[in-house]
């Protein structure tokens, strides 16, 4: 998994998922149904999909809390089933539901985490912990803007602060991948934006791969690559721009006073089109300009139609809900 090899740098895959299938006991269909994808080191990867698409099941298998029915998962080259403990050491997880002890302080939650990962020996007080630990906690608290709050009881913190605290905790053991399972659920718009900025900062500073599940498209749009999951299958995979090209149909809307002439011209150009009063012409990879240049019939209507990624996504989600 060398990053530098043969004099040029390439990015290795930190996650490799092959033909992943999960069928829960007594379930009639697969929750995850033949999913394959890979995530490059340092990437911000978003698993997007409506509720019930299989996102949490996938993330649970990737983080070793669930065994797959078939298929393989490699995290940093380690098998998620055969070397679960090895994988756990490489990943940090922010759960969908808060996973903090409310009666303890933020720092105590972080400390317990550090001890579970064998980073430091057990000490009952912050002051007795090794200096390196105290520095690390202060640094991370600084990055996430929780310098004072981290020593307060968790129950006095706001929802956004709790999330940030969980991120601090998840980063203590310097994981290669930070998994976030719908981290902004239950947060208001401001905290959500805030969290996003911090995540970006964390990623730049610690070169952590971020793997996120969400059902909000606008969150996924910030990712380097998106994998859209629906009913346990991958519907689309690529950069937001690629996804857009893949899912979104662009077409021209044309009309002319001489419709028969326009019709025959379009037919001779072998462009796919439909007539709904006006002509909807599929671009099929051609640019709008190219198409128009090759038309001689005078046009009365000329419009390009390019639906947003959101339209495309809603179409997927919409069919899933039906």
């Amino acid at each position: 998994m060398a990053r530098q090899a043969h004099g040029f740098s390439y990015v290795a895959n930190v996650i490799e998922v092959r033909d992943l299938v999960k069928r829960y006991r007594k379930a009639e269909k697969n929750a995850v149904d033949g999913v394959s994808f890979e995530v490059r080191s340092g990437e911000f990867f978003a698993l997007l999909g409506p509720n019930g698409a299989g996102k949490t099941t996938t993330i649970s298998i990737l983080t070793t809390t669930l065994t797959p029915t078939s298929g393989s998962v490699l995290i940093d080259g380690r098998d998620a089933v055969a070397d679960a403990a090895g994988v756990r050491r490489q990943v940090g997880i922010i759960f969908q539901k808060p996973s903090l002890d409310m009666n303890l302080s933020g720092e105590e939650n972080v400390r317990f985490h550090a001890m579970l990962y064998g980073l430091y020996p057990y000490r009952p007080f912050f002051r007795l912990m090794p200096r390196h630990y105290r520095e690390q906690v202060r640094e991370l608290a600084g990055v996430l803007g929780l310098e004072k709050e981290i020593f307060k009881p968790v129950k006095t913190l706001s929802g956004g602060m709790k999330r940030k605290l969980e991120i601090i905790r998840g980063l203590m053991h310097r994981p290669r991948v930070l998994f976030l399972d719908e981290p902004t659920a239950g947060l208001d718009a401001a905290s959500r934006r805030n969290l996003w900025n911090y995540l970006r900062e964390v990623r730049e500073k610690y070169e952590t791969t971020i793997f996120l599940t969400t059902h909000y498209l606008e969150e996924a749009e910030e990712a380097d690559r998106i994998c859209i999951l629906d009913q346990g299958k991958v519907v689309s995979l690529g950069t937001p721009a690629e996804i857009k090209a893949d899912l979104v149909e662009e077409y021209l809307i044309l009309d002319s006073e001489d419709r028969p002439a326009l019709r025959s011209e379009l037919q001779s150009l072998q462009l796919g089109f439909t007539e709904q009063g006006q002509f909807q012409v599929q671009l099929n990879g051609h640019s709008a300009q190219e198409v128009i240049r090759s038309l001689d019939t005078p046009l009365t209507v000329l419009k390009t139609h390019s639906p947003s990624l959101e339209d495309a996504y809603l179409k997927i989600v919409g069919t899933a809900m039906e």
């Binding site: 756990r88 997880i93 996973s99 009666n103 303890l104 105590e108 317990f112 985490h113 001890m115 057990y122």
Partner: protein
Amino acid sequence: MTDLSAILTIASRDLLKLLRDRTRLVFTLVFPFIFIVLMGGTLQGNLGRAAGFNFIGFIFTGVLGMTLFQSAAQGLISLIEDRETDFSQEMFVSPISRYSIVFGKILGETMVSFIQAIPTIALALALGVPLSPLQVLLLVPASLGACLLGGAFGVTVMSLLQNQRAAQQIFPFLIFPQFFLAGIFNPIKVLPWYLLPLSLMSPLRYAVDLLRGVAYTGRPEYDKVVLFNPLTNLVVMAAMFGAFLLVGTMMFVRQETNR
């Protein structure tokens, strides 16, 4: 080494949670008071003379065993709920083994329930239950035995029940009959034939009888109260502890990821 530290961490977290939770602490103190003073007092006043032994001492040992056993068992069962709600989610994705989680949890819940033994014993002394310093000292390991057995019992119950709702519904059926079969409040020196095997199957019976064996040593009513030799109780408890722990942990670990 990592796992030892992790076991200590998990255990100390339970202890810290108890100490930070004032409502729970107060309840811990009030609970034995209700049973020993209110129940023991009334029984002693009305039946003590006829029974030929002190009911306050009898209820004290019974409540002590029951509290420790039940609290430890419930603590372990809470692991099912915790798995989905709080910090315990963290434990299940950390690199430590499932066995360490169970051991840490048993150790932690043992400490937590053992703390409840202190006010109970103090209350008994204040109420004049005759206990020598040596007996008080011996009650410590006997109490720990009750906690550990309860913890191991809890692991098995937890591994059998899939979710928190099932646990909440079924656990009372597993613990409540034991209150009577183990003779917490009621003497079970004489039992009808159909209840004897049930009573002998109750782990709580041995934990309570061991405590009574310690508390009634050298007392004239020893034979009226104590059922088995403390050594017999110890051996049975050790065997049950081992069996529950082994079966429960194995089933729990296997189920954990294989949903």
